[in-house]
């Protein structure tokens, strides 16, 4: 008797089994969802040491037990989209805590929530106003000439602008998932922004609503961000840790402040449409931003699967600056995964700590050999990668598919952490 091509009996059996498991899972999930959940993000204590208008400067207290404390403080400038809490999303995946444990004196800019009265605030006000004032505050407080500066996404672009205009105040510059070359069609955002009628948008809205931008980001990958993410949640909602982490991420994603109208206008017109920054043609308050004046050491991170700031938008910076001490680091992850994925936790923050430590001694000679360009660095694996590498999601297969491809059953915990990682990579 020939074997049937459609194993109906097996399929039905699996369906029955799956229905039973789902029923149990829903029952367990209801207990979890009805119980108190710890979904608070950014729990690392800090002091507000400086404030101006809506912005606040956070100062974290570094670990007293940390060895080899770095002398130069680090100021982190987050993007104007979403919030800086992402760097301290959950205790076991916190860039902030890694920095503090490693002895970094950490300051972070909280841009706050712009209101209608902020609609005329420009990029110049952010760069030469708020950032400059924060840098001056740190310099004065610590009695130093220069600080270390790290920027995230558009915050990185602003850091590059600031460092070019005030090179005398910056010791080391770190840019992460930072767009500098906007003339690429690799990222959908770059394609969509090209024809945006930004004037009309600002006339209608004043500031650009965070919800509108979030909707745009969801549209970048609706299959993953609007369907698969929640399917993954229902599959794991009987796990308290997972639910708490998922909710932290969910809260962070939709905690999106509006972007000041004039800032958005300049960002779209000068950067996305005319690509002025990388050509050294951008002006802030009448002063030209010349990237050749970036003579300080530069470390540039970007994500290989970043669809918001694709590698083509991020990897040109090191080749146009005046500094000889530059390094590109490409991590196999997405735009947010670089900060929160378990893989990046081992690569990203520890690499920054090492890099800064090497340059913390003021008298340390500048090593010409340290000049590394993209091609070299991508081939070179960081020391932490000597551990067993995690599977690379080049095609970004779904959770179920990944689980079966390896040929070995994945433990529930590993598949759960993989799901979180996939979510972060999809963002």
């Amino acid at each position: 008797m020939a074997q049937t091509k459609i194993p109906v009996d097996l399929i039905l059996e699996k369906l029955a089994q799956s229905a039973e498991e789902t029923q149990k899972r829903v029952s367990r999930a209801s207990d979890i969802l009805l119980s108190p959940l710890n979904t608070e993000a950014a729990v690392t204590p800090y002091d507000i040491v400086y404030s101006e208008d809506r912005i606040k400067l956070k100062h974290y207290t570094r670990s007293e037990t940390a060895e080899n404390k770095l002398k130069t403080p680090l100021l982190v400038i987050y993007a104007l989209i979403n919030r800086e809490t992402m760097l301290d999303l959950q205790p076991d995946r916190s860039v902030v805590q890694t920095f503090l444990k490693s002895g970094i004196d950490l300051y972070m800019m909280d841009w706050g929530y712009p209101t209608r009265k902020d609609r005329y605030v420009t990029i110049d006000d952010h760069v030469n106003g708020y950032i400059n004032n924060a840098v001056d505050y740190i310099r004065e407080k610590n009695g130093i000439q220069k600080v270390n500066l790290m920027g995230i996404c558009i915050g990185g672009s602003m850091c590059a602008m600031y460092s070019a205009l005030h090179p005398d105040k910056i010791k080391n510059l770190i840019t992460t998932v930072t767009p500098s070359n906007f003339d690429t069609d690799k990222g959908l955002l770059h394609v969509w922004m090209k024809n945006l009628n930004v004037d009309k948008m600002i006339n209608s809205f004043g500031n650009i609503p965070g919800d509108l931008m979030n909707f745009g980001f969801l549209l970048l990958n609706p299959a993953r961000l609007m369907i698969d993410k929640y399917v993954g949640f229902t599959e794991n909602m009987d796990n308290k840790d997972f639910v708490e982490n998922f909710m932290r991420m969910e809260r962070w994603i939709f905690d999106s402040p509006d972007v000041p109208g004039e800032t958005f206008r300049q960002l779209i017109e000068d950067c996305y449409k005319r690509n002025l920054l990388i050509q050294n043609k951008m002006y802030l308050d009448g002063k030209r931003v010349d990237l050749k004046k970036l003579t300080m050491p530069l470390l540039n991170f970007y994500g290989r699967f970043d669809h918001l700031v694709p590698p083509e938008a991020a990897d040109k910076l090191t080749s146009v600056v005046g500094s000889k001490d530059v390094e590109d680091v490409c991590i196999d992850t997405g735009h947010i995964g670089i900060y929160v994925s378990s893989k990046a936790q081992k690569q990203f923050a520890p690499k920054i700590v090492r890099w800064l430590r090497e340059r913390d001694k003021e008298d340390a000679p500048r090593q010409k050999a340290q000049t590394k360009r993209k091609s070299e660095v991508e081939l070179q694996k960081p020391a932490v990668e000597s551990r067993a590498p995690e599977p690379q999601n080049i095609q970004q297969p779904s959770l179920a598919e990944t689980g079966t491809k390896t040929g070995r059953p994945k433990s529930p915990r590993s598949s759960r952490s993989l799901l979180i990682q996939k979510i972060t990579e999809a963002i």
Partner: protein
């Protein structure tokens, strides 16, 4: 018609008699009222007010009018006019009805065209053509009603309100088109998914787990979305929807401003002006502060 003429002629002797009686009545009424001339200043001081003055004038006017009408020439002309009155009324009514019917038939004719315009589109090829057709119908056939010139004191308010309704309709039609485009990959992915399942069934490789089926479908869906998002049609639809939304928001703000003006609430425009001044002043103060500090 001859009968009607006879009836009119029968009315002839009655009309002069009525005019005569009317004249006598107004004369008596005028006499019955104490006149200024008769009672002099005393009466005037006691009773003179605007109402009495007007009443006196009206009585005098009616008296003189009745007197004039009682003259034979005037009576003859009036009789003549009465005889032709039905004809005049009929003419007026006829022209009024004709204008009404014309307008109605014009509207009906236009409404009849609404469906016909859609014939130009080939609905079989692309589903979103339906939405484009609807937008086109709205823009060419219905939209103009929101722009009928308004008159009077409230014209500007009405115009802004109508514009808001128009922009809302335009936004909704483009949004419908955009959503239909967004839905396309879902529809297509199910078709492709079914084909894949069919192929796998023939090979005996049908997934046994529901999760595997879902993973396959979501991967297909993702692929379709990526293809769609890179297409010019999608980008155009996205920008068009955004622009229509912005138009609606701006029109809504304008209409709301009219309402806010009646309330003790500042409008967005007023606040924006204030914010701008505030922003510039603050910037100057900060610069001056820095200069003072540097000195």
């Amino acid at each position: 018609m001859p009968e009607e003429n006879n009836k009119s002629k029968e009315a002839d002797p009655l009309f002069p008699s009525w005019l005569k009686a009317s004249y006598e009545m107004w004369s008596k009424a005028a006499q019955a009222m104490p006149s200024f001339e008769e009672d002099g200043q005393k009466f005037q001081a006691e009773t003179s007010n605007r109402f009495v003055e007007q009443w006196q004038k009206n009585l005098k006017l009616m008296k003189s009018f009745s007197k004039t009408m009682s003259e034979p020439e005037s009576t003859a002309a009036a009789i003549n006019a009465i005889n032709t009155l039905p004809e005049i009324i009929l003419k007026m009514a006829k022209s009024g009805w004709e204008a009404g019917f014309k307008t109605q038939s014009h509207i009906l004719e236009k409404m009849g065209k609404i469906g016909r315009r859609a014939e130009a589109y080939k609905f079989d090829n692309l589903d979103q053509e339906v939405f484009r057709a609807l937008t086109d119908i709205y823009e060419k056939e219905l939209r103009q009603y929101f722009y009928i010139p308004q008159v009077g004191l409230t014209r500007f308010y009405q115009e802004r309100f109508n514009e808001m309704l128009d922009k809302k309709n335009l936004f909704e039609t483009t949004l419908a088109e955009f959503l239909s485009i967004i839905y396309l990959p879902i529809e297509k992915s199910f078709k492709v998914f079914q084909e894949r399942l069919q192929e796998m069934a023939q090979k005996g490789e049908l997934p046994k787990e529901a999760k595997d089926n879902y993973a396959l479908w979501v991967k297909i869906l993702e692929g379709h979305y990526m293809s769609l998002f890179k297409s010019k049609e999608y980008t155009d639809a996205l920008h068009n929807t955004l622009e229509k939304m912005e138009d609606f928001v701006a029109a809504k703000n304008d209409a709301l401003r009219d309402i806010l003006q009646f309330l003790p609430i500042p409008t967005t425009k007023e606040m924006d002006e204030l914010y701008r001044e505030f922003y510039l002043l603050k910037k100057r103060v900060k610069e001056l502060e820095k200069k003072v500090k540097a000195v």
